[in-house]
């Protein structure tokens, strides 16, 4: 059933539109959620920019920390796949039946919430970030190459985070509380994806771990790309690892969906 997932479809767009319409009913709820997601990076922004003071830490000045964290907040909002949290419930409560009865791939429902959600959040988050950028005096030395490289890095980051969370959520076909693993993923993202500190500032072993594991590539990597923290070889290695993990996540998603569905239709949910 994975055939034709990425082909454009009337049904897919209609789903996005309707999900968006229904989410707009809860604008304020989503604004509060988005606000909650902004707080931890904001705190670390203040901590690090205060620590940098008039000097710099590992080459990062106060203004550079502001740029790093404000862009990180944006990237975090764009890549956060909150849909993953609902997939497990859908499976557990048998609501997935309604999705399975439709003549379009079930992934569309998740993608619809993804796109619809992003629009609602960004309407709220972008203006705040712009104001903060002026107030806190962001310093960003933007090159064309970095700006261009940021776009694929961001898209891959979203896809990686989305499919990574999705395959974890699909474990609900086998285990009742698979979403505990999603909470674990969130914690690892918090630690190893540049939120507590930019990866460059992590101590040796932790830094190596962050570079190898997929979490950095869900949030920190695009931020490092656009803020010019990476050398050309580092950037290329980064892309290679990011795409590798993304491919792994998509394959795991496809496999788990296939076997999960087989099991679901054998057991009946």
């Amino acid at each position: 059933m994975t055939r034709g997932i990425f082909t454009p479809s009337r049904g897919g767009w209609a789903l996005i539109r309707s999900t968006w319409l229904s989410w707009m009913q809860y604008r304020s709820f989503f604004f509060i959620l988005a606000f909650g997601w902004m707080i931890p990076p904001l705190i670390y922004l203040l901590v690090w920019s205060t620590a940098a003071g008039e000097g710099s830490i590992s080459g990062m000045t106060r203004g550079a920390f502001v740029a790093y964290y404000l862009i990180l907040i944006l990237v975090n909002q764009i890549t956060y796949a909150q849909t993953n949290w609902t997939v497990g419930d859908l499976i557990r409560y048998g609501q997935i039946n309604k999705v399975l009865l439709r003549p379009i791939p079930p992934l569309y429902d998740a993608l619809a919430s993804e796109f619809a959600g992003k629009v609602v959040y960004l309407v709220f988050v972008v203006p705040i970030l712009v104001i903060l950028a002026f107030v806190l005096k962001l310093e960003l030395d933007l090159t064309l190459l970095n700006a261009l490289a940021f776009i694929p890095a961001l898209i891959f980051a979203w896809a990686l985070r989305f499919f990574w969370g999705y395959w974890l959520a699909l474990l609900a076909f086998w285990a009742t509380r698979a979403d505990a693993l999603l909470a674990l993923q969130d914690s690892l993202v918090f630690l190893l994806a540049g939120q507590v500190a930019p990866i460059a500032l992590l101590p040796g072993a932790l830094k190596t771990l962050a570079v190898i594991l997929p979490f950095r590539y869900m949030v920190a990597f695009p931020v490092e790309v656009i803020t010019g923290q990476l050398t050309r070889p580092e950037m290329l290695t980064g892309f290679a690892i990011q795409v590798g993990w993304m491919a792994a996540a998509v394959i795991l998603y496809a496999l788990l969906w296939r076997y999960g569905l087989k099991r679901y239709s054998a057991v009946g949910g």
């Binding site: 209609a14 229904s22 399975l100 009865l101 379009i104 009742t176 509380r177 054998a266």
Partner: protein
């Protein structure tokens, strides 16, 4: 059968129900070393349904009705046996197949909770790729039949249960499916709403030629709508045919309701009754008796002679009584 749209042959479903403890640890353990117990839900059932027929699937809770329906709709893989619906094997879930069927589950909604039904309908129209003009025509027809114009623009969460079921039916029929599966469509609805939905289903079935399989616990639904019923119990078909035949087969009795003239029951004692008569109820001057179907006429004649009868009626046992007997002792 000619123009048969649904063929079911030796369909069997045995659930392997995972046995697992709560908690993440146990869940993870069950990922690697799952334990199962086997439950036989449907056992080698076979039937055929011609295009345009409306069939009632009845049976007690847990008899295998919903399991059967889910296999026909492609949500479940059978353990063995064959099914062909409109030429497709349902559980392949081919988009072309899914466009030809629809399933309404009384306890599950396909409407989006926070937006008006009209928006949900449009999305479904797109999902099923219904051409614009056809969509508008179908919608108008359904809205008229179900008298629900004023519901179209209210958020679904503000609708009553009955109004929501109207929306569910519209949603499921917008793409004009050839086969409609209805699982408890009247669950929890009040009597007049049940009546209206029944009338709608009968009209729609007649005008569109859609094949309908319906499960319901309300015998009135089945009696009003389905000339043919398939009775499932413990995963097996006990009866496939008219409801009336089922009643005669399962309950070879008639019910006699007798009202006696006042004075004759003054001593409050039961009169002498012929052999084979069973007293169901005796209160003041009313008697309810159960008599063997074959002897009903003879016994009635005898009673008219011996008793001082003011009024007498002969009835078939209520279908509820028949069903109750089948459900409790499996039609033995």
């Amino acid at each position: 059968m000619e123009n048969t749209i649904i063929r079911v042959k030796e369909l069997t479903k045995t659930y392997r129900v995972p046995v697992r403890a709560e908690g993440l640890g146990a869940s993870l353990k069950s990922l690697f070393k799952p334990t199962y117990s086997e439950v036989s839900a449907v056992q080698a059932i076979s039937f055929e349904i011609p295009q345009g027929e409306m069939v009632g699937l009845i049976g007690p809770n847990g008899a295998g009705k919903t399991t059967t329906l889910k296999m026909l709709a492609g949500l479940l893989h059978p353990t063995s046996g064959q099914v062909s619906v409109a030429g497709y094997e349902p559980w392949q879930r081919q988009p072309q197949y899914l466009r030809r069927i629809s399933m309404v589950m009384g306890n599950k909604s396909q409407m989006l909770w926070d937006i008006p039904p009209l928006d949900s309908f449009r999305v479904l129209g797109e999902i099923y790729s219904v051409p614009k003009k056809e969509f508008e025509r179908n919608l108008e027809e359904l809205v008229q039949l179900l008298e629900m114009k004023e519901l179209l623009t209210k958020p679904v969460r503000n609708l009553s249960l009955g109004e929501r079921m109207k929306c569910e039916l519209t949603a499921s029929l917008l793409h004009r499916p050839s086969v409609l599966f209805l699982d408890e469509p009247t669950l929890g609805l009040d009597v007049s709403m049940q009546l209206r939905l029944r009338r709608f289903l009968a009209d729609y079935n007649r005008s569109s030629g859609t094949t309908v399989i319906l499960t319901s616990h309300y015998m009135a639904d089945v009696m009003a709508l389905c000339p043919r019923v398939i009775l499932i119990h413990h995963g097996k078909i006990l009866h496939d045919g008219e409801l009336g035949t089922l009643a005669r087969r399962m309950m070879p009795f008639k019910i006699l309701r007798i009202t006696l003239k006042q004075e004759s029951m003054a001593d409050n004692e039961l009169p002498e009754l012929p052999d084979g008569v069973e007293v169901l109820e005796a209160e003041s001057n009313n008697l309810n008796l159960r008599v063997p179907r074959d002897e009903a006429a003879a016994i009635t004649a005898k009673l008219l002679e011996t008793l001082n009868v003011a009024d007498l009626t002969i009835e078939d046992p209520s279908i509820e009584a028949v069903i109750d007997q089948v459900y409790t002792d499996g039609g033995q």
